[in-house]
Amino acid sequence: MTTVLATENLSMSFGGVRAVDGVSIDVPDGFVFSIIGPNGAGKTTLFNMISGLYTPREGRVLLENDDVTGLKPDKLARRGLSRTFQNLQVFFRMTALENVMVGRHRHERTAIIADLLHLPAVGRQNRETRVQAEAALKRVGLAAVAEQPAGGLAYGDLKRLEIARALASEPKVLLLDEPAAGCNPVETAELEGVIRGIADGGITVVLVEHDMRLVMNVSDRIHVLANGATLAEGTADEVRADPSVIEAYLGVGGSEGKSRAVH
């Protein structure tokens, strides 16, 4: 199985505190790869390093075996890495559809002069982008709100809008940062289908999530972080059974806690 995304010994610290400490992951192509861990475990920091928002202090990020450490996010995006955000980063002044159309940016080919003059190529490009964006909205179930301003959408819809936007860029690897946070059980269940569908479509998904039911149901492989370092990795069942994981989540082990943590 080929590895599409990997980190080698990735580290980052803020003001002396090691937020991420020597984390190595290996994400096989087409997998749903989840990263879990208690709050402050360094999950989002890891994401930020992988997606180029932070420059790691140590270690490397490999995308399709190319060293992409320290590349700017937009360069990484052009190589097929896309992501969503834990704290929403929606373009609130644009409509839902326009948000997703921005996701098509890396596939759009026009020049600024052509854009200003609205040459026929721009019209064609816009139509094509629109069709693709509408399709992406449909995939996450937001086609009905396409023309609405994003600022007016419900929280759950915004979460899915970010996914649609990332999808529209046709990434090879998609990083989802807590997509279910703030969603009700029905929305979370829908989300599960969406994520599965994305993976089935051939896109590798890296998921950071607190909702264990979702994680357990959807993941092919789970990587557990605690205090910035790797604690365990394995399939859902393996991780569920790992005592160190249970301890990390609850401080001390306990069957009651175990069931609450993982179910």
Binding site: F85, N87, Q89
Partner: protein, 290 residues
């Protein structure tokens, strides 16, 4: 050597003026994220009201107190009737409101007062203090001391009083501050009042040096704003250092390079500083959480 000393004296004189204006910017910014472009008009009010009351026969200390009270009331009114009414508007809208307020206040001043320049007698006379071949006016030291005293008071107030902590909390996170029971409206209103008072004190102190007229506010605001940004907006200490630095830059540029391009030199240095430290000298870098 005497030359260097004189340039430094000049820089400190002008810089202390900028520092006083910058302090006003910083306080309002801290509490409300608003850059108050009518800060210069508070300074103008401090000077002009004192001048005109004194002309009308009011003893100088009383005139100054009344001027500070006037400016404070104007600051409160600006908050209550403009900023508070527009609560929730974005920062640019609020800034535009303060620009409108600045035009309005200038318009009022030109009718109520006049359009000539005025001066006030310096507190400790006109005779320069000579030192090492250079000379500085006592009033420059007064302005400088004023900036330091206000800085210390602000620091003591913010660090040592509950209300000061409330201002800090409001600055850090308005919503959270409200949730823990801080009346953020009162806090912001208070910061407007104090900023206005600081402006007016500045106006009263600097008038013997800079002279005053109904329209000095714009230029002072411009320089004060630049000083506050140089020091790092939101930091009172930064405001004072930024102001002094800007003054010294201008004086050195005028003395050593070209008096024609001294403002240009000062701004180029500000640009360079900001490019190296995008949050200003003593500002905190904002980390965006994603």
């Amino acid at each position: 050597m005497a030359e260097l000393l004189q340039f430094t004296f000049s820089g400190l004189t002008v810089g202390a003026v900028y520092a006083l204006v910058a302090l006003g910017f910083t306080l309002i910014y801290n509490a409300s994220d608003v850059i108050n472009f009518s800060q210069g008009e508070f300074v103008m009010l401090g000077g002009m009201v004192t001048v005109f009351l004194a002309l009308g026969g009011v003893p100088l200390p009383l005139a100054a107190l009344l001027a500070i009270a006037t400016a404070t009331l104007v600051g409160l009114a600006l908050h209550r009737f403009a900023i508070e009414t527009a609560r929730g508007a974005n920062a640019v809208t609020l800034i535009m409101i303060t620009i409108g307020a600045s035009i309005f206040l200038r318009g009022v001043a030109q009718v109520v007062f006049d359009k000539r320049y005025h001066s006030l007698p310096p507190l400790f006379g006109d005779d320069p203090i000579r030192f090492g071949g250079a000379a500085i006016l006592p009033q420059s030291l007064v302005v400088f001391a004023g900036a330091v005293v206000i800085l210390v008071l602000l620091w003591g107030f913010i660090d040592r009083t509950l209300f000061g902590k409330a201002v800090l909390a409001t600055a850090a996170n308005k919503l959270a501050a409200r949730l823990v029971g801080i009346d953020t409206r009162r806090t912001v209103g208070f910061s407007f009042a104090v900023s206005a008072a600081i402006g007016a004190i500045a106006g009263f102190l600097i008038t013997p040096i800079t002279l005053t007229s109904y329209n000095i506010g714009t230029l002072l605001a411009l320089k004060g704003f630049a000083a506050a940004m140089l020091g790092g907006i939101g930091s009172a200490f930064g405001a004072v250092i930024g102001g002094l630095l800007l003054g010294i830059l201008e004086a050195f540029a005028a003395g050593y390079l070209s008096s024609q391009y001294k403002d240009a030199v000062a701004f180029i240095v500000i640009l360079v500083v900001l490019l190296a430290r995008p949050q200003g000298l003593f500002g905190r870098a904002k980390v965006e959480r994603v």
